[in-house]
Symmetry: C2
Subunit: 274 residues, 2 copies
């Protein structure tokens, strides 16, 4: 890269860091990249850090020493997050979203990349300090959320299938009981997508009793993998806690009541905000 | 926002633009946001434009006049793209990827957010000048590619399902014949996810004869929607052109030969590079 003026270097470093979240970049690498003294690089990083933190874009951590460097951790401020989720709750309460069986239609919301990126940032904030190797979800609606989170945490994604496709090679399948409708279902994961002993963050779009997530946990057991956390976009709070299979999870929103007759729904911010 | 120094403003404007691709931002909005003269904003934008274009991050177009402003269009340089795709081709040629039926295992590659973001940038470059309202894909493996493209083009995504889920509400279903194995299959799209007369970019991970994509096109017909383009990650070039159902598409890579006995595969850059 040719030597840049300070102003151009700031633009370049900003985009470079934003594209490499949760990645330690050594000051030497930056100094080489921009043919500049480490002291100038440090000054630039201080400016970037201040803007990122003031604007709620995330944190910039500098590690001193020979193995040191700088790491960008995407985060979202509580105020910004709650204002987004409150708007999400109002949208989810629209009467036309109530479907037979008390489900809420939310496919359209999970099709908006900008909203997904904010939701991913919330999960990335919640799980920033966990040791995670990979993010897991089950097809279909959880997939975009898992990728949005993975982009912030710089992690790969594995997708559990509800069938067993020829294009996946050999797979491990388990049967599980969906907690809410008590039906036995199958899920499977391709053998070569997950290494043994991986630490796995489970992300899904919706949780009622938690049967599907419990199924994913059982599947992880088959790979000798470990659950590092569970994040769901919307949880249903209609069940009593004794019916819930799962206790340790982060939710972004919570449906507290669905009246099938009047189509009135109440949706409140999830336990991420407590 | 409090008034920023020039250096901090450059950092802030860079992240602001990167987070809002394909969005026209008026100079007045920037001037208000940073409490700065439009002339200073224009100077800053000139610096950002130069870095974005030199580094191959994308283009910054300035539209003059009262309705004017600036728009960031993510792009990828041909050289950077071809070097990424060549590495993709080498990975796809690994003998252990050959599955029964001549399929190639590529789920792991579609699980890497960084690679996906580059592939999305390639599709965004290919389709930057088309008029598109929405991106469509069919579950499951095409989903992350569709979202990566959508993030660059600032567009919503709709997902065609292979079943008809209760959580989607009423849906339109069609039967289609998968071109490669001649089996009749079903796909469906929730009524409320796609507006009539939408212009739709179809994105998928793999295309052999094109039966699945032809199915999506037929489904679009049911919504009076129009195909604005077709992009596939990998196409199989093993078929004669007379067997291919589809002619106008962009591919990023092309499998030209799979030898099931020796597990030797040849993968070359797709027609995007021609």
């Amino acid at each position: 890269m040719k030597k840049l003026k300070r102003s151009a270097r700031l633009v370049e470093m900003t985009q470079y860091l934003l594209n490499r979240p949760h990645t330690l970049i050594s000051l030497t690498a930056f100094a080489d990249r921009y043919q500049s003294a480490k002291s100038s690089i440090s000054e630039d990083l201080a400016i970037i850090k201040e803007v990122f933190e003031e604007e709620g874009i995330g944190e910039l951590h500098t590690l001193a020493g020979a193995a040191g460097g700088v790491k960008y951790t995407p985060k979202i401020h509580h105020d910004a997050a709650i204002s987004i989720i409150q708007s999400v709750c109002r949208q989810l309460e629209q009467p036309e979203r109530v479907l037979p069986g008390g489900y809420l239609f939310m496919t359209d919301m999970l099709g908006q990349p900008e909203l997904l990126s904010e939701l991913g940032r919330m999960f990335a904030t919640a799980f920033a300090n966990r040791e995670i190797d990979v993010i897991m979800t089950v097809e279909t609606k959880g997939i975009p959320l898992a990728y949005a989170t993975a982009a912030c945490l710089n992690l790969p994604v594995v997708i559990v299938r509800r069938d067993n496709k020829v294009t996946e090679g050999s797979a491990v399948s388990i049967n599980y009981v969906s907690g809410s409708n008590k039906r036995i279902q199958t899920m499977s994961l391709a053998r070569r997508t997950l290494r043994e002993h991986s630490r796995v963050l489970i992300i899904d779009d919706f949780m009622k009793a938690g049967g599907t997530i419990q199924g994913m946990m059982d599947l992880l057991g088959e790979f000798n993998a470990k659950v590092a956390g569970v994040g769901v976009f919307v949880e249903s709070g209609e069940l009593g806690t004794e019916e819930r299979l799962l206790e340790d999870y982060i939710s972004l929103a919570k449906v507290t009541a669905v009246d099938l007759k009047t189509k009135q729904t109440t949706v409140v911010p999830g336990n991420f905000f407590q």
